[in-house]
């Protein structure tokens, strides 16, 4: 755990207490079994907003607390522990970052206070296929008169159905990372169609089609054709923050498993005395500690205004790997009970795979890390 200041310690402790009490895994089960297709529980999100969690990275002049990304990471780690479903990642982390990085004064003044207050849901609509590939953005935006018209589709958009504001990556020219432009689009704008995609993690996402969606010139976030300059650092903030959530999920999965090793008896002794299991547990602990270093370093680099590309990819790749392992071992070390729906192991495994794929899988980030380092 990074060396925290007093405010951060208080925030973490409050987040831990609140999530354990108000958003335990039973809340996720309720969401899943309620068949509402909602990706989060609205009253829970409203309370998070009241506690100021939606404005942790938002500057004070826009209604936030400006505690920074390491602080938001502390909250996300706690929500990750209990698999609490909320728009923290889509709205408080990703959309807020995009607006802070690329927004004009008017755009920031319009949207950031409402994000910080937890009044709206906002999300980044970037991917168009099953794999994270922002460089391949193809959704077309064409100039018409003063404004732009958008045609194409986005998929696996977090909290996309509930979003009041969509931040859409569109192709305005060129290819690859050149010629991408970001647009602010109202979630209910004419021509926007949203379909629920039910995923294994019970949170789901949305497929969104844009048919002749018209927006004004003031809808452009950042500069035309130069959206990558905003999109890439936004994605790195999303990756580092999601990695913090995943670190929390992996830590909880590990702790539940460790507790089981200390209580389950076979052959007349607790199974945690078996060296085959002890070494696997010790290796997982090693990976957890190494991952924590990476996640905190990425968040700290962002807070310090440093180039966080390599550390963000490192953090996400590491979080992917440890959560993958911890979720598999959770089922395996629990034996048969781990295969039952009654036990939480399945919930952790399902969330793990969805989170692993979001904002880039392990191979995506390994490849990106190599490119950034010049090989």
């Amino acid at each position: 755990m990074a060396v925290l200041n007093e405010e951060q310690t208080m925030l973490r402790d409050a987040a831990r207490e609140w999530t354990q009490e108000n958003a335990p895994t039973t809340a996720l089960r309720k969401l899943r079994d309620g068949k509402s297709k909602a990706t989060f529980d609205a009253p829970t999100w409203a309370e998070m907003g009241q506690m100021g969690w939606a404005g942790v990275v938002v500057p004070e002049e826009h209604g936030g607390s400006a505690f920074g990304y390491l602080s938001l990471g502390l909250v996300l780690e706690e929500t990750g522990r209990t698999l609490a479903a909320s728009p923290l990642i889509s709205t408080a982390l990703t959309a807020a970052s995009a607006l802070m990085l690329g927004g004009s004064e008017a755009q920031k003044a319009e949207w950031l206070p409402r994000i910080a207050g937890g009044e709206i849901v906002a999300t980044l609509a970037v991917d168009e296929g099953s794999h994270h590939a922002p460089e391949k953005t193809a959704l077309k935006a064409e100039k018409t008169g003063d404004g732009w018209v958008l045609n194409g589709s986005k998929t696996f958009v977090l909290d996309g159905e509930a979003a009041d504001l969509l931040i859409v990556a569109a192709r305005t020219s060129g290819k690859g990372t050149d010629g991408i432009t970001l647009f602010l689009v109202a979630g209910d704008a004419p021509g926007v169609t949203r379909t629920h995609l039910s995923l294994a993690d019970s949170r789901g996402a949305a497929k969104i089609t844009f048919e002749g969606v018209e927006v004004g010139a003031d809808a452009v976030l950042g500069e035309v054709d130069k959206g990558w300059a905003v999109l890439e650092p936004t994605l790195d903030r999303a990756r580092a923050g999601l990695a913090a959530e995943m670190l929390g999920t992996a830590t909880q999965a590990f702790e539940i498993t460790l507790e089981y090793l200390k209580t389950r008896t076979q052959f007349g002794q607790v199974i945690g005395t078996f060296q085959a299991l002890q070494h696997r547990a010790a290796k997982m602990f090693t990976d957890l500690e190494m991952t924590r270093s990476c996640v905190e370093a990425a968040l700290e680099a962002i807070d310090a205004g440093q180039d966080a590309r390599a550390t963000a990819s490192l953090a996400k790749a590491r979080a992917n790997e440890i959560l993958h392992l911890a979720s598999i071992e959770m089922v395996q070390m629990h034996g048969g009970i781990g295969m039952t729906d009654e036990h939480d192991a399945g919930l952790y495994m399902k969330r793990a795979r969805v989170a692993e794929a979001l904002f880039g899988g392990t191979t995506y980030h390994r490849d990106r890390y190599g490119r950034i380092l010049g090989f």
Partner: protein
Amino acid sequence: MADFGGTDLEAFRAETRAWLAENYPASLNAPMGEDDAPWGGRKFVWKNADAKLWLDRMAAKGWTAPMWPKEYGGGGLSKEENKVLEQELRKIRARPALMSFGLWMLGPVLLEYATEEQKQKFIPSIIKGETRWCQGYSEPGAGSDLAALQTKCEDKGDHFLINGQKVWTSYADQADWIFCLVRTDTSKKHEGISFVLFDMTTPGVEARPIKLISGSSPFCETFFDNVKVPKDQMVGKLNGGWEIAKRLLQYERQNISASGFGAGGGLDLVEVAKKEIGVDDQGRIDDGDLRARIAAHRMDAHAFMLTVRRAEAESKASKGPSAAVSIIKYAAAKMNQERYELMVEAMGLQGLGWEGEGFAKDELAVTRGWLRSKGNSIEGGTSEVNLNVVAKRVLGLLDHQ
């Protein structure tokens, strides 16, 4: 020690910088080769007189042991001042003035457990690099199970008499003195061990180098045949050596860990792979499988470095060891071994040269380093023992035995 505020620290920085500019020998600006390592001691042959001069100048200020008390010849620096000194040394890429088991392992436990007379007698010569120490721990029958050691130490009234054998004693053939674990009570295991110091020239001591698969001989078998040791050379209580032994191992593992077994020295893996394998039109190593594994390794190394940094920051803030420390030695061994395996793979047969023509000096060093690295998961506690320690002490799992 004065309470240094920011201004005083800056003054200290300026003084340090000026002193280094004046006193760091210019001939040491060349990179340090393996055989330039400044181990010190009575038998040491200085290849470069300036390296000795650098040691003497640093030792005179107590800066070979910057934070040890001044009364024993240390630098008496505060943590903050020491950090400044480290930064300034790094800035000029200074070579270490002294490499020494005395500094890294024995000194810290002497400061904690030795009598005033023992401190006065042994610590100043460690700081000055006059005495080179070796570590008498492992025995043929006591490796991972170190407390099974049997080297016998009998009380003969006015002296102790030691008989037995140690093994894997690093540089015993070049050391002046040994800190040694001995059995003083055969009826108990951990509670029958004591910690003694003695001169390697004492009659009855013999060190025989062991040739390793890498061709080098950094370790010895060390024999004790009726070795007489003065009674005031026992540190701590009779039969109270195990606590000191464990404490010293913490310092040893910390030290091995922080250096990551020296990984990162020598050839750069990425550059080697680019040269030997080539790159594609995007500048990527032209072997997708190997490139991915190199990237994964580089990420491991990055994660390791961040973990060492975090462990340091946390232990400074809490004044106790961080949980991360326990996993560092295990992770360091794994990382260094992986680095060498990838290096040999990337170099192909050029990375397996043994000697002679056709191979550059640093290429031959890869072969030797690769073989030497296999010891990383054995020395200073095997990886398996390290995992046992984590399972038991950190995770609270019951002993499997």
